[in-house]
Symmetry: C2
Subunit: 760 residues, 2 copies
């Protein structure tokens, strides 16, 4: 805190702390971990989408030279009587029991010291099934006779799932309902009514580091090394399954090679834990890139949206129905259904809103959180709908939005009054950047140009808790203990900046201790752009606690920290370079639960994330090929802790969503993914990135956020898909309502316009 | 804290927490550690005791197939300009520079992936020396022309060493001086004056796990895995050498296979750190049992003690001179010279005391702390002296002690008024257990029996600091972070008992996190029986802090911890199993520095350790063989936290000292240890343990100690040697004043009594 040390760490684009370690190859990943005596597990998976297991024959696999053991669900059940896990429902077995619910579901594991031996033997596990009728479509699942789960088993951690306990013969895992005003009546009174249906496809997180976990049995203890975004949850859930105190389960997370929501809750952790305890040796399972396709997807969704609009362009009523395709296991799907569901009408000021949002089980791989937590699906629908209405009304789409946007001080659909949501600002900034209203080159001949602008917003999951510890050493350097997982988003750097700012010490002297549940305190998880706000606040409080204790120590020894180095304060107290100051901080925002029948609450979220996207495209009318030539993302991130990291978060998110928009789609045949490889499933490469890629954080402040900051990891995803679809419509007059926007889809739509795609 | 959970953990003989892990082989030791890419280092050592290095030829070693690199002191100096370490003096080079100061000093290191290759090549390092005159005896070192260190370089951490800065041409590293009253004048006035000189030999700690350290370079960071009793010191000292912030150096200590004072400060840590940074790969050095003989010894000492005694048996004056043979590097010797030196007159109430205590450099392997920190050497002298006086005065030795012992409320030689030192109690209890004053079978024929009783006491090193953190998890289990090293003494269990007691939780739910400077907070070191008192107090405060925060949380959510489980308190606050409570506690006792000229202080120690030993022996007068038939140790340990652990500490310490008494001795020829193997250097085996082995903790309370407890790790060592020597004298009338009490020594003494050993 001495003047010469003051650096104003917050608000500066400090290079990432871990950059050098990653570039030099010193960064640790679980994939590199080797433990003495470790066995490798390879998974034998279900070949059918839905069926009863009649018999598992492991003899051929067990006979392979070098195989240590073949483990099935029955072995797991002998260790853990009810081996089902899940954050919302305890529905997912560690290995399939009795029946399988999707093609690719783990049925058995072969353990061997040599992973190649294990892999060969896994192919020899012979399972006989009795096939059952299957359901794949989320809307059909509402009424299908094919029932994925006979009985529903909510986890009990979410009180609002309690009334699903024991429900039978239904694929509906959650039906979120919001009623504000009387949308049906208002629709009847409206001057115009518009209704559109949109669809999104199954896509994948594709972290370049596939799922990997290892478990190491100790003496009445278990250590799990895992590429996880939620070490605290893993510990709690494994302790619950084993009926152990949490202190006996240790979860360690080094660097992650990307997460994007895939590496949340339990993935391989319960499996390696059970295996390690069964064989009393360390066990590691590393999935292949192909196996990621059988582990977790993003929810496909069907979204029906109906609006009543007054003559002057004011939207007076909106009715939203959303069907989320959760696949065979709920994972966090019910939370998405509810927590994102309530923003389905978009960032618009609408008096009468009805929302019905359904989480559905189907016989596809489970769907979970993926960067945006359902929001990109919703924005895809409501911002397509918005443009389609504006077009019908012959209104400028930006002007139409201006007329309807939700401004601070006005109630959102939940009744929560908006604050610190710069919806108007991001709309104006994106319009200005796109030179909206000025002449625009619309192309000519077979290449036509168009543009679109959209806005979107998101609440943060609430209420959730973060805890941090700051350990100030006697030489004035320090360690920050925090369970936020730096999976590439730069959280280590941002958190260290907060500590450096408050303690007035150089950021180089701060070590950020990576998640280790025996060391770093509780954090709900690294998800949903919650870390900067929640953990940032906990870190700030921990650093302030340390600072206050330092000031007290300085007073005790009769010096001022303004003029005395920290090391000297310690020396005066302890006679030598000795002692520590331990500061801790805990943060949980205030929150008020929603009314179960109406979805109303005075406080739906601690903060809002707000984004606007502008896209310019060129469409080749002969081939349908779309080239995105410019992609502008404007966000309200409050006041950035590290502007350079905010910038890369915005572009990273936008490029990821660009893949989901233009090319990515899991193809299924009878529930079997038929393009489970990166040779067939195309993620964006460098050449797919638009030439004009712009990002901007508007001048804003999030009250209650650390130094005015809030999260940004997802904001860039919100608007990319509808902005491009709107631009295509603007260019060539066809409206695509399903993702992805492939050349084929555009071409077919153009052809559907009766041979003359350029009419309109 | 609920009634049914209350267990009264403190005061119970709870089995050691780590027992199962050790018995099942799951306990981790650094010797088992393998790191990817790790190189093994083998040390080439000096073959002479004192000399200038003329030339080091590494060509032959470097040419051995598989050798990665041969490193000498010059290489180290290129990395670290002043590569000298040490807790009291910065006198010890990481590898010898310019000259060698003892036979066995590290001169070069060969690095290879295969330790056998490294060992072979280490034998080929060719060093040419110019021999210098050497000095080995501590008394001769006072005046010898052979100077071990040309210039003295105090570490600066001990202010009282400051005036040694830059001293030249002396082997005296510290001359401690205490003057209370006027001993010279009082001696002149005394009725009788007695003077005796005693000697002790060089011995060894012999932990069954030899020294071992590994260093792992990171990205601007360094992790050191080491079998160390002082991880905090290692971090500070390595950071100082490298000029890095402490946060960039991480020191991890798993279980230790014994320490006994050997594994303190820097041993191999600076060497592996420098090597790892030089070659940018992990480097490990594991010493052999033989190499322990070249690393650290216990101080040999010469002790002259002179007493003036009044007719009634009251000791009126005492003059003590002690010469400590520190070997070639000071290590912690100067502290022993001072901190133990001030108790040289023994636990007696003597008005006039002069003490001169000298730390001396010689050309022998360095000496350091060894279970007792100099006290066994002092008790050896003053309790032999006491018995010899009593014998001369024809007084019963217990009665003579009763007359002179230092009772609570009376000033010790430093002027510090005694408190909570049950000297009278331990004397009475040992006398009672020995049936003192009752008939005793004195043997017959060639086997004669005798017995002896002695008392001893020790101050604790002060002032020192301990810090602890208690992390209470949301399910009510918890972790304790503390840097106390459990090297077999059971500290993990005792510390967990304190936490269990205060939080009212089962001890099984507590995880004690092992020292890791990135995690566990500062602790001065695990030494000198300081942990129970210092760390015990820090742990108590941390647990109380956590308890207070838990109570506050319970109040906040409107429940009582008397009726509500801890997990429920958390759930009410955080809505799920989430959050932590972080309690921290720091402890440094009050202390007043001694006056430099007189050694006087009002507060010399936070507490006193007090012990009494009774021994019964059989002496074979034909062979000189002594059999210890009974060994009784009585101690004031305050109120034990875990009585079973106290019991095993007392017997463990006594058996260790029994080895130093009866058989152990490093033999030297021209400074070269000639019995550097456990085949020649004999530690006690099971058959050497006395049949009658008794231990007792007297009913006592240490005020200011956690739950009334204080340290016990060393107390059993105090009196063993003089009790046996006194018993021999009692049996056969010969007085041995040098250790060890071998059959040969007894036989020679008997022969010296002019052919009739049974006369007297």
């Amino acid at each position: 805190m001495r003047a010469e040390e003051k650096r104003g760490a917050v608000g500066r684009s400090i290079p990432r702390l871990e950059g050098r370690a990653k570039v030099t190859g010193r960064a640790e990943y679980v994939h590199n971990l080797r433990l003495p005596g470790m066995l490798y597990g390879k998974i034998a998976r279900s070949t059918i989408a839905h069926g009863r297991i009649k018999r598992i024959d492991v003899a051929a696999a067990q006979a392979v030279e070098g195989v240590h053991r073949v483990v099935t669900g029955a072995d797991i059940r002998a260790l853990i009587p009810d081996p089902h896990y899940g954050p919302a429902f305890h529905d997912q077995p560690i290995l399939a029991l009795d029946k399988v619910r999707y093609a690719g579901e783990p049925v058995a594991v072969v353990l061997a010291s040599d992973p190649h031996v294990a892999e060969e033997a896994a192919g020899l596990v012979d399972v006989q099934y009795e096939a059952l009728p299957a359901v794949y479509d989320e809307v059909e699942a509402m009424t299908s006779k094919a029932i994925v789960h006979e009985v529903l088993k909510p986890a009990g951690t979410f009180p609002d799932l309690k009334h699903f306990q024991g429900r039978k013969n239904t694929n509906v895992a959650l039906d979120f309902r919001l009623r504000r005003g009387d949308a049906e009546a208002a629709l009847k009174k409206a001057d115009r009514v518009f209704e559109h249906t949109f669809r999104t496809q199954q896509v994948l997180h594709v972290p370049l580091e596939p799922f990997v976990s290892a478990a190491e049995p100790g003496d009445g203890t278990l250590t799990i090394h895992t590429a996880s975004q939620s070490p605290s949850f893993v510990r709690t859930e494994i302790a619950r399954l084993l009926e152990w105190p949490e202190s006996k389960v240790r979860v360690k997370v080094p660097y992650l090679g990307g997460g994007f929501g895939a590496k949340l809750y339990i993935k391989l952790e319960a499996l390696v834990a059970a295996l390690a305890l069964l064989v009393r040796r360390p066990v590691k399972i590393s999935l292949t890139m192909e196996e990621q396709f059988y582990t977790l997807t993003k929810h496909a969704a069907t979204l029906r949206i109906k609006s009543g609009v007054a003559k002057d362009g004011r939207v007076t009523a909106r009715l939203c129905e959303v069907w989320w395709n959760g696949g065979a296991y709920a994972d966090i799907g019910p939370r998405i259904t509810q927590k994102s569901g309530f923003t389905a009408p978009g960032p618009y000021d609408i008096e009468h809103v009805h929302i019905d949002s359904y989480a559905l089980y189907t016989n596809l791989p489970p769907a979970g959180a993926l960067r945006g937590f359902g929001i990109p699906q919703l924005v895809w629908a409501y911002e397509g709908h918005t443009d389609m209405i504006a077009r019908e009304l012959k209104m400028d789409p930006v002007e139409f939005r201006r007329k309807n946007i939700l401004r601070d001080g006005r109630p959102q659909a939940t009744g929560t009054v908006m604050q610190d949501a710069a919806i108007d600002k991001v709309l104006e900034r994106v319009a200005a950047r796109m030179d909206w209203g000025k002449p625009f080159d619309r192309g000519s001949g077979t290449v036509r140009r168009g543009r679109g602008v959209v806005i979107g917003f998101k609440a943060v999951i609430a209420p959730t808790t973060s805890v941090a510890i700051v350990n100030l050493y006697a030489d004035g350097s320090c360690a920050l203990y925090c369970s936020t997982v730096d999976m590439g988003q730069g959280s280590d750097t941002a958190m260290a900046q907060i500590v450096a700012e408050i303690l007035g010490i150089p950021i180089e002297s701060i070590t950020v201790v990576h998640p280790d549940t025996e060391v770093t305190p509780y954090d709900m998880a690294t998800l949903g752009s919650r870390s900067t706000y929640h953990m940032g606040n906990a870190v700030r409080r921990a650093a302030e606690d340390a600072r206050d204790k330092l000031l007290a120590l300085a007073r005790e020894v009769g010096v001022s920290v303004e003029t005395t180095p920290i090391a000297e304060v310690f020396r005066r107290k302890y006679g030598m370079q000795a002692g520590n100051i331990i500061g801790s901080g805990s943060f949980i925002p205030t929150y008020m639960p929603m009314d179960h029948d109406t979805g109303q609450t005075a406080n739906a979220t601690p903060f809002w994330m707000v984004g606007a996207t502008g896209a310019e495209v060129e469409v080749d009318t002969e081939t349908g090929r779309v080239r995105v030539t410019r992609l502008v993302n404007v966000a309200d991130v409050g006041t950035p802790i590290n502007p350079a990291i905010v910038e890369s978060q915005l572009s990273g998110a936008a490029i990821m969503q660009l893949g989901f928009t233009m090319s990515e789609k899991m193809e299924f045949s009878a529930g079997q993914c038929t393009n489970a490889s990166l040779a067939q499933y195309k993620i964006p490469g460098l050449l797919d990135v638009p030439e004009g890629m712009e990002n901007e954080a508007v001048d804003a402040e999030q009250k209650g956020g650390p130094f005015g900051a809030k999260g940004v990891g997802e904001t860039g995803t919100f608007g990319v898909s509808p902005a491009i679809a709107n631009a295509i419509d603007d260019a060539v007059g066809v409206r695509l309502t399903s993702l992805p926007l492939t050349a084929e889809a555009v071409y077919r739509a153009l052809r559907a316009k009766q041979g003359n795609p350029l009419k309109d």
